[in-house]
């Protein structure tokens, strides 16, 4: 018996054969090619056609951009490769490149624009660093107070008392934000805790903790007031601003003002008060239903008429106001989309615990809605960045305006394609980066409620 059972066990024991390798033409590079490029007759045809098209475009592009390139020339006439034919005049782009970025800003003053940009970047970097606390304060101060500092750095000239105060407040905020971020990175505690410990207030009662912080703020303010007191920049009137710099200034102001205005308009649109709702809906629908170019024309022709006597508004300011109105209306719809995504239970729960309207919006609804809105806000900014090119039609020298100006310069007359290509590349890099970032945000912010 035992022998038989053993034999049975042995015979029943399942020994799998080693599995066969997959057919040679379904794996590896060949398999990939077969599956993705030559899967049937139609697919093969499409592949071949696409390859021909890509090859054709590459050859033409190579000929245009490299084979015919002229890298050194003092004017357009020197860009000829044969007596009848112009080469691809990259020399012109090289000659004008600074102008594409800064417009007609004086060369010796360009460092001001650069340093304002660096200040903004340094100010905003902490928002992306995980160890830094009080990010909201840093971001808000950057958006609300930085414009004064930047405005003065760009414009220069004499400061009145208001600008004196605002510029030093901005500088103080900047210094505080930097010190705070560095402290957070190295010690793990924010600036206020550090001040309290340093002054020995940590043993006292909590009520007194605010005093050293206030004293510190005043000291920083006075320090920056002292720092800037002797510094005056040469005046650079804003008709000299131009290029990518102007594009970024207009779209930056547009987006920074659009967010608060958009939130208010969206709340107004959902309000139960009829008058407020009707006014908000009218504003949003008016500015969303007409093209930006008509708003810009309206701004340049009608804003001067709207102002009381004795006030003047220059073209740049009217354009910025127009862009802000336009952007606010679009942003309002983005915010409304975010608000509608919040379940009604959240509103009701906030009301049930006795929060006021502004409390429930500020602490319960908006933080959640913002999560849904951020990708759309980024793509909205991208759209505004692209739409800002329209100011070139009303005669401002933004990036596109500068490019049109090149082709009218006597010694570079007719130089269109190369500058246009350069501008397209600049816009593409900016917008592509932003759209990828917004996609990344969409994936990461949605992690909490993913399926």
């Amino acid at each position: 018996m035992t022998e038989i059972t053993e034999q049975n066990e042995v015979s029943e024991k399942f020994v799998p054969k080693p599995s066969l390798p997959p057919p040679p033409n379904t794996t590896g590079a060949i398999g990939w090619l077969r599956y993705n490029l030559f899967d049937g007759f139609l697919s093969s045809c499409l592949t071949v056609l696409s390859l021909i098209a890509i090859g054709f475009m590459c050859v033409n592009f190579y000929e245009w951009a490299f084979a015919k390139a002229v890298l050194e020339a003092a004017n357009r006439q020197e860009c000829r490769i044969t007596p009848t034919e112009f080469g691809t005049c990259w020399a012109g782009v090289k000659f004008w490149f600074t102008r594409f970025i800064y417009g007609r800003y004086t060369d010796t003053e360009i460092w001001r624009v650069n340093s304002a940009a660096i200040i903004l970047i340094l100010w905003m970097i902490p928002v992306w660093l995980p160890r830094v606390t009080a990010k909201l304060n840093i971001a808000l101060s950057g958006v609300l107070i930085f414009p004064f500092l930047a405005g003065y750095m760009f414009l220069g000239g004499d400061r009145n008392w208001f600008m004196e105060i605002m510029v030093s407040v901005a500088l103080g905020c900047f210094l505080t934000a930097i010190i705070h971020s560095l402290l957070c990175l190295f010690t793990g505690a924010g600036i206020s805790k550090w001040i309290i410990q340093l002054t020995g207030f940590s043993n006292r009662s909590e009520r007194l903790h605010k005093f050293p912080v206030i004293v510190f703020a005043v000291i920083i303010f006075l320090l920056s007031l002292f720092l800037i007191s002797d510094v005056t920049f040469k005046e650079m009137p804003n008709n000299l601003w131009g290029g990518l710099f102007l594009t970024l200034v207009i779209s930056g102001i547009g987006i920074a003002s659009a967010l608060p205005a958009g939130i208010l308009l969206a709340l107004g649109r959902r309000s139960k008060m009829t008058v407020i709702r009707v006014l908000c809906v009218a504003f949003i629908e008016l500015f969303r239903s007409v093209p930006l170019i008509t708003i810009l024309f309206m701004a340049t022709t009608m804003f001067p008429l709207f102002l009381p006597e004795g006030f003047h508004i220059n073209k740049l300011a009217s354009a910025i106001v127009a862009v802000c109105l336009f952007a606010a209306a679009y942003m309002a719809e983005v915010v409304r989309g975010g608000l509608q995504a919040i379940p009604k239970g959240q509103y009701e729960a906030a009301e049930a615990v006795g929060l006021t309207y502004w409390q429930s919006m500020g602490f319960i609804v908006m933080p959640q809605a913002l999560k849904y809105m951020i990708p759309n806000i980024v793509s909205n900014f991208m759209g505004l960045f692209k739409d800002t090119t329209l100011v070139s039609i009303i005669g401002l020298y933004d990036l596109l305006g500068m490019i049109n100006a090149v082709s009218q310069d006597p010694s570079w007359i007719g130089l269109h394609h190369e500058p246009l290509f350069t501008a397209a590349v600049i816009f593409f890099i900016g917008c592509f980066a932003m759209s990828k970032y917004s996609q990344y945000l969409e994936r990461n912010l949605g992690a909490g409620n993913g399926r």
């Binding site: 993705n36 490029l37 899967d39 697919s43 499409l46 592949t47 696409s50 390859l51 098209a53 890509i54 139960k272 008060m273 009829t274 008058v275 407020i276 006014l279 629908e285 008016l286 969303r288 239903s289 007409v290 093209p291 930006l292 170019i293 008509t294 024309f297 309206m298 022709t301 009608m302 001067p304 008429l305 709207f306 102002l307 009381p308 006597e309 009301e351 991208m382 692209k386 739409d387 090119t389 329209l390 070139s392 039609i393 596109l400 049109n404 269109h416 394609h417 246009l420 501008a423 397209a424 816009f427 593409f428 917008c431 592509f432 759209s435």
Partner: protein, 397 residues
């Protein structure tokens, strides 16, 4: 919100704390501020216009415009009034936007489907097409098409003959096409076409009703095509082919006769079509992807043929996701067609908001008229969208 009943104790506190009174108070304040702002704007405008000696009112619309418009299908002369210029602008804008909308939607569907292609290379090309076009400004693209392609066309003597036709030529004055010239009895053909379309609609409705009642599917494709194409052709031939083609011909330095389209119009149209097709492609792709795979499988397990699965299950559901954003895209095409001003195509903004405004100086009236046109178009389009949304919401449950 308004559930707070006023407390019976009365008094000022009760009124202050009552949400209804507060809301009325806020509304009155906001309304008052609004009225004050509007009145002061009007007053400032009147003062400013008086100091600049600008006239007010729409009377100027009757004045002679006195400038020529480079392209219009209407019969416009420089001696016509500003009102006529307004119409010329509207018609030009609508023609430009209308053609662009049709072509952009069509191209968008093709690119969107190509992006979903199993063929890796094709999908990549389609996705880069979308990325490049969406990430550069439309204005730059319009200028690029104009300067890069349509401003470099040969002179009339060296015109490009498209497909070898002598009367379909492209040169730096524009695209010249044969122009149909209907004769006396041509209206009969038009009537026949209308009747044919009505019959075809009735036929399809009847087939659909029969399918609802009996479940039997009747193919209506062949009879529909036969009627729609057959009936007008019969009418056309019976009335003795009353349609002549006016052909453009080279006379002196330029082509005369036939229809023609400005190079600027071609450039704007190509740019609008290509730019918006990228957006349309994304909508189509998202719409098709929004239909879950379970729908395909469920339809197949019911035994539907593959073509029916696509036609009766996938496409209707995808359309629900595609149509609303597509309609707002069409609205964008209408608005963006105003960028034609950058290269000198005479659309509404160009002829009316720029040339007429500079000549007549009636800024307020002209801006109001132009905005009124764009608002009418968008409100009409969004009304259509609302009707459509209501319709698909009803079929939802």
């Amino acid at each position: 919100m308004s559930g707070n009943t006023p407390s019976s104790s009365g008094g000022v506190n009760a009124i202050i704390n009552d949400e209804r009174y507060r809301s009325i108070f806020y509304q009155v304040v906001v309304f008052g501020l609004f009225i004050w702002a509007v009145l002061s704007l009007i007053e400032n405008t009147q003062i400013n216009m008086a100091t600049r000696k600008m006239a007010v009112g729409f009377d100027f619309l009757k004045n002679t415009a006195g400038f020529a418009v480079a392209w219009t299908p209407l019969d416009y002369k420089p001696s016509d009034s500003y009102l006529m210029v307004y119409w010329v602008g509207i018609i030009n804008t609508l023609i430009l936007a209308g053609i662009s909308i049709v072509l952009a939607t069509f191209l968008g569907f093709i690119v969107g489907i190509l992006r979903l292609s199993k063929n890796w290379l094709v999908a990549q090309i389609a996705s880069w097409y979308v990325e490049v076009l969406r990430n550069t400004p439309l204005l730059l693209q319009i200028i690029f098409w104009y300067l890069g392609a349509f401003a470099n066309l040969p002179r009339p003597k060296q015109s490009i003959e498209i497909l070898g036709f002598e009367s379909l030529v492209l040169n730096n004055r524009g695209l010249y096409i044969p122009k149909p010239q209907p004769e006396d009895l041509f209206w009969l053909t038009a009537v026949a076409l209308l009747v044919a379309v009505l019959i075809a609609i009735a036929l399809n409705k009847r087939a659909a009703r029969k399918q609802q009642q009996t479940g039997k599917y009747i193919s209506t494709l062949v009879p529909t095509l036969l009627i729609v194409f057959g009936l007008p052709s019969v009418a056309f031939i019976l009335t003795g082919m009353p349609l002549e083609w006016e052909l453009p011909a080279l006379k002196g330095f330029n082509y005369r006769g036939g229809g023609f389209v400005l190079p600027a119009m071609l450039a704007v149209m190509v740019a609008l079509v290509v730019y918006h097709s990228a957006y349309a492609a994304e909508m189509v792709r998202a719409g098709i992807l929004s239909v879950s795979k379970g729908q395909t499988e469920a339809a197949s397990s019911l035994g539907l043929k593959q073509s029916f699965v696509m036609r009766l299950v996938i496409i209707p559901q995808a359309m629900r996701a595609i149509v609303p954003p597509m309609i707002s895209l069409w609205m964008n095409v209408v608005k963006n067609s105003s960028l034609a001003i950058a290269i000198g195509f005479p659309d509404l903004v160009s002829v009316f908001m720029q040339t007429s405004l500079n000549q007549s100086g009636h800024a307020v009236e002209i801006v109001a008229l132009v905005m009124a046109f764009y608002m009418t178009v968008s409100l009409t389009i969004s009304a259509c969208l609302n009707v459509y949304n209501k319709k698909i919401q009803l079929t939802e449950r």
